[in-house]
């Protein structure tokens, strides 16, 4: 019998600890599939961030460095300077990347550091128990915006993809979602492209993945999936905003 579906080589067989309906598992798998596709598992370094994704090293069969909160892009920049023939990626949530680590990711992008950043945006702090994130939508209730996010006090949800696409450094900047099979297929393709950019030496590649957090949103997995389509995608539109075909030279 022909095997048509299996666990990617770049993943371990450890069961995910993620909550039911959380998208981390899907995103992990798509990243692992990309590493398998380019056959780079043995020369890949993952940089884990702080949040639910800190346990990256339990699920990826690659070397992993755990970064301080927000600093994954800087850690990856240092690692890549040494292991410049390796594939180096970070995997960061919205609190990590778009609040405490904003400076690090912007400057890694602006330098065109030849790394790949997977940015999982679920519009809330997951691990700490549902506090307001920089990407929390207006009106969205969280434990620290109990009356809903108010732009007069909290500002607006930050659009990292649009911000980074304005820079010269990045080779690829894209936003995807994994809430439907068709979106998963598109996300798989974009994540693969992002790693291809790095492997071809084209510089910083960035994929924002809209993700659910059913537990902290107080929703069923199905309702959380629906919310991606109904509330998140309208504010955070999907698509590739920037893609370079040539390498910039001095």
């Amino acid at each position: 019998m022909k095997q048509v579906f299996k666990r990617p080589e770049s993943m371990t067989d450890k069961p995910f600890h993620f909550c039911p309906g959380c998208h981390h598992g899907i995103v992990h798998r798509l990243v692992a599939e990309a590493l398998d596709h380019f056959d780079v598992r043995e020369k890949t370094v993952g940089v884990a961030s702080v949040g639910c994704s800190v346990f990256l090293y339990d699920y990826f069969a690659v070397d992993v460095i755990e970064a301080p909160h927000g600093r994954a892009s800087a850690v990856a920049a240092g690692t890549k300077r040494v292991l410049n023939d390796h594939v180096v990626f970070t995997y960061q949530g919205d609190g990590d990347l778009a609040a405490i680590g904003t400076a690090e990711v912007i400057h890694a992008a602006n330098r065109g550091d030849n790394i790949t950043v997977i940015f999982v945006n679920n519009s809330i702090y997951g691990m700490t128990g549902g506090q307001m994130a920089p990407t929390t939508l207006l009106g969205q209730k969280s434990t620290t915006s109990p009356y809903g996010r108010d732009c007069r006090r909290d500002g607006y949800p930050i659009k990292m993809t649009e911000m980074l696409a304005a820079l010269e450094g990045p080779s690829l900047v894209s936003r995807v979602a994994v809430n439907t099979p068709s979106n998963v297929k598109k996300a798989r393709k974009v994540i693969r492209q992002a790693f291809q950019m790095q492997i071809e030496g084209k510089g910083f590649s960035f994929v924002e993945v809209l993700s659910t957090c059913p537990t902290n949103w107080g929703m069923t997995p199905q309702a959380a999936n629906d919310r991606i389509a109904e509330e998140m995608i309208p504010y955070f539109p999907l698509g590739t905003l920037k893609q370079k075909d040539v390498i910039d030279v001095l």
Partner: protein, 355 residues
């Protein structure tokens, strides 16, 4: 053998030169006075040895870039001064928890706050007591001359690798900016440890590895902390460095480190000419602190004078180290002023006369 070639150079450049000669090919840093000659030298000279210089967007980024490089086992460093070192404290704590080796230089400047750009020893507590969170130590080396800046920079890389620990070279604006002759040399070992079983190199033909400081399993955190403590104990046992000058017959022993110790050396020469029996203990490692030296010395010389360019930091460690029955005087000058050899001559003579 030919006479070793002397170079006339600034303290900051001596450090950069020593680092490259020790095989440090990766430097990450952010500009701040009074240490800018270090990144400038690195930016100029690292490309020639196939290394990488990277100017970070902040000291927070510098220390984390250093973390990313250190995890691969290469020799790498950053440098900064007071305010920048404060920003790095989070990273220092992660280096400790992750047990990663690297070298950081603090050419300290006056604080608190933006302070000033001249010399101070106000960062003693931050350096040896830990400015970051958690129960950890750094190795802290305190050079007092250009040559020692060079020598201890090389030593810093060796100690960092020996113990998988962050090693801090604590200088100040005087030491960084002073220009004097040094003799450069090249150590035997000029690269990191390429074959250690914890290095992040890509999981080729082996199990994947992780660098982490997160310990959530029952008892795992305590076990890790005891492991770190055992390492700090070994460092205290095996790698204390201290210089003693004229202590054999001393009735008064001055304790000072770094540039103040250098000034004190001149003052002691002057008081010795006047027949006063005064000696100097100069801790070269601030952690591990030369507790044993002071404990033994305190058995015969009962009078001590601690001189620092701060309002009293190392003096606490001196008091803790000495046996009961010793008297400890303190002379301190806060950030913003530097004592002259004459100032210290007066202080030492007055203290001596009161014995």
């Amino acid at each position: 053998m030919s006479t070793p070639k002397k170079v006339f150079t600034k303290g900051n450049e001596a450090i950069a030169m020593a680092a490259i000669n020790a095989g440090c090919h990766y430097y990450f840093g952010y500009p701040i006075t009074p240490q800018n000659e270090i990144p400038e030298y690195m930016a100029m000279h690292l490309p020639a040895v196939g290394g990488e210089f990277l100017q970070a967007e902040s000291e927070i980024a510098s220390i984390n870039m250093l973390l990313g490089a250190a995890a691969t086992g290469v020799r790498a460093m950053t440098s900064s001064s007071g305010p920048g070192i404060s920003l790095m404290q989070e990273g220092f704590s992660y280096f400790a928890g992750n047990e990663l080796p690297a070298v950081v230089v603090n050419m300290s400047r006056q604080g608190p706050g933006l302070g000033g750009i001249n010399a101070t020893q106000g960062d003693y507590f931050q350096s040896v007591k830990g400015g970051g969170h958690g129960d950890y130590k750094l190795i802290v080396l305190a050079p007092h001359t250009g040559q020692e800046l060079y020598d201890l920079t090389i030593k810093a890389f060796e100690l960092a690798e020996k113990y998988r620990i962050l090693t801090l070279v604590l200088g100040d604006a005087i030491l960084g900016q002073i220009k004097e002759p040094i003799v450069p040399w090249i150590p035997e070992k000029t690269s990191g440890d390429a074959d250690r079983d914890w290095l992040i190199t890509g999981a080729k033909g082996r199990e994947p590895r992780r660098i982490t400081s997160l310990f959530l399993a029952d008892g795992a955190m305590e076990k890790h902390n005891w492991h770190l403590q055992e390492k700090y104990d070994r460092i205290e046992r095996d790698d204390v460095m201290v210089e003693e000058v004229d202590t054999e017959d001393a009735e008064l022993v001055v304790v000072a480190f770094g540039s103040v110790a250098r000034i004190v050396k001149s003052s002691i020469a002057q008081v010795r000419e006047k027949g006063m029996k005064v000696g100097l203990v100069r801790p070269i490692t601030l952690f591990p602190f030369p507790r044993k030296t002071l404990l033994e010395l305190g058995g015969r010389a009962k009078n001590f004078l601690v001189a620092e360019m701060n309002t009293g930091q190392m003096v606490e460690d001196v008091k803790l180290s000495l046996p009961d029955g010793c008297s400890v005087e303190f002379y301190g000058r806060p950030g913003g002023s530097v004592p002259t050899p004459e100032d210290l001559f007066d202080v030492i003579s007055e203290t001596y006369k009161k014995l």
